[in-house]
Every structure is written in structure tokens, then in C-alpha cells.
């Protein structure tokens, strides 16, 4: 599921960085997550490409009753740049910035190349992911933060 989503985003030319739980897994986290969080470049051409792909996947607002007049298009992404979505490819959260790190430009600068199968993409670095978790400051993030900080230390030892 995640591999297909990432490959499709890359194939569509969308500029994005994987953040959140899937980024944690890329760095060695063993925590299960069933959604992928991406931070995207909010430039017009990129919003157009991302919106088109999400529309192709029948994206709809997660946790909202079906049937609302929602259209996944450029306008929706521009007016609501952060959305939690359900799609036929899986759950995707799209963000134009990451708390504690900044806008896409800053997120991209704090990212590193990563590969799954034949697909190369960018993932938020482990230190930046830790910073983001600290900035989010939610109780649910505490356990993840503890694990990520241990991973950062273990990586220096292996």
C-alpha cells in the first residue's frame, strides 16, 4: 500500500517528503501505522499534480460522512492545505508544513533520500522527525518520541 502510493506520487512528478509514522519506519521504528503523511510543495504546478492524483484515487475527507459535496481539486488543496484523506489506495494525510520544522522548503532541506524497491523519494531526517514530534507535543507522540530518540542513539552505535 505505502510502496504503491510513494511510487505513484513519484511517477506523477509530485514534489513531496514523507513525514510521520512511515518516515519513522524508514528510519527503523517498529510502530504500526495505517496512514502515510506527506508534506508537499505548495507551488501551483505541484498542487495541480497532487490534486489530480488524489482525485484519481477518489480521495475523500476521513471521518466525514459520505455524500458531502466535496471535490478533490486544486482549489480544495489551496483552501485547506492540510487534510486527512481516505482514498482507494489507503489513508493519506497531506500537509504543506510540519510543526517544528516549517514549510515544504524547510522540510525538504531537512530530508534525505530514501529508496523502496526501484523508487527513490525523500523522507524527513530522523533528527527533524524528532523535532517535529517534540513540537507536536501530543500525549500520543510521547511513546513514539522515546523510540525515535533511542533509534537515533542506537544508529550512532551500530
Amino acid at each position: 500500500m505505502f510502496e504503491k502510493i510513494i511510487a505513484a506520487l513519484v511517477a506523477a512528478g509530485v514534489r513531496f517528503v514523507v513525514v510521520g509514522g512511515v518516515a519513522g519506519v524508514a528510519h527503523g521504528s517498529v510502530r504500526l501505522t495505517n496512514d502515510i503523511d506527506i508534506c508537499y510543495d505548495a507551488a501551483a504546478d505541484n498542487v495541480r499534480a497532487l490534486a489530480a492524483l488524489l482525485a484519481e484515487w477518489d480521495a475523500y475527507l476521513r471521518g466525514v460522512d459520505p455524500g458531502l459535496p466535496f471535490a478533490m481539486d486544486e482549489r480544495a488543496l489551496r483552501t485547506t492545505p492540510t487534510m486527512t484523506l481516505t482514498t482507494r489506495m489507503g489513508n493519506i494525510d497531506v500537509l504543506d508544513s510540519v510543526a517544528g520544522v516549517g514549510s515544504y522548503a524547510e522540510v525538504s532541506a531537512a530530508s534525505e533520500p530514501c529508496v523502496v524497491g526501484d523508487t527513490q523519494f525523500r523522507v524527513l531526517s530522523l533528527p527533524a522527525l524528532i523535532t517535529a514530534k517534540r513540537a507536536a507535543g501530543r500525549p500520543k507522540d510521547l511513546a513514539h518520541l522515546i523510540e525515535l530518540e533511542a533509534l537515533a542513539k542506537l544508529k550512532t552505535q551500530t
Partner: protein, 60 residues
């Protein structure tokens, strides 16, 4: 200028050894060490497999 991200160790930058914090919290460090030996592709495919299992498993 590049940001100085996550330079302090410990939960919230407390300075405590993060591995010891994790051990005390109950994190299975053996799982983390084993996971670090996998490639990124292997880790992400393992996650895909776990999510797929979680979506398909049913009580009977």
C-alpha cells in the same frame, strides 16, 4: 541557514540517555536493533505486510 534539529538527547532534550529512557519505558530495544539491520525497502515492505494483515484479519 540550516536548522539545528534534534541535537539534544533524551525526551524533550532532557539530557538523559535515550536508550536507557526507552528501556525503562518498556521499548523492546532488540526489535529496534534488528530493524536497523534491514534495508529501508525491507522495513517499508514489512510495514505494508503488517497493515495488510491488520486490514484482513477477522474474528470468527
Amino acid at each position: 541557514m540550516e536548522k539545528d534539529l534534534g541535537e539534544r538527547e533524551g525526551v524533550g532534550g532532557s539530557g538523559r540517555d535515550p536508550v536507557e529512557v526507552a528501556r525503562a519505558y518498556g521499548v523492546d530495544l532488540g526489535l529496534l536493533v534488528a530493524n536497523l539491520k534491514l534495508t529501508t525497502t525491507e522495513r517499508l515492505r514489512l510495514l505494508d505486510a503488517m497493515v495488510s494483515f491488520a486490514q484482513r484479519v477477522r474474528h470468527v
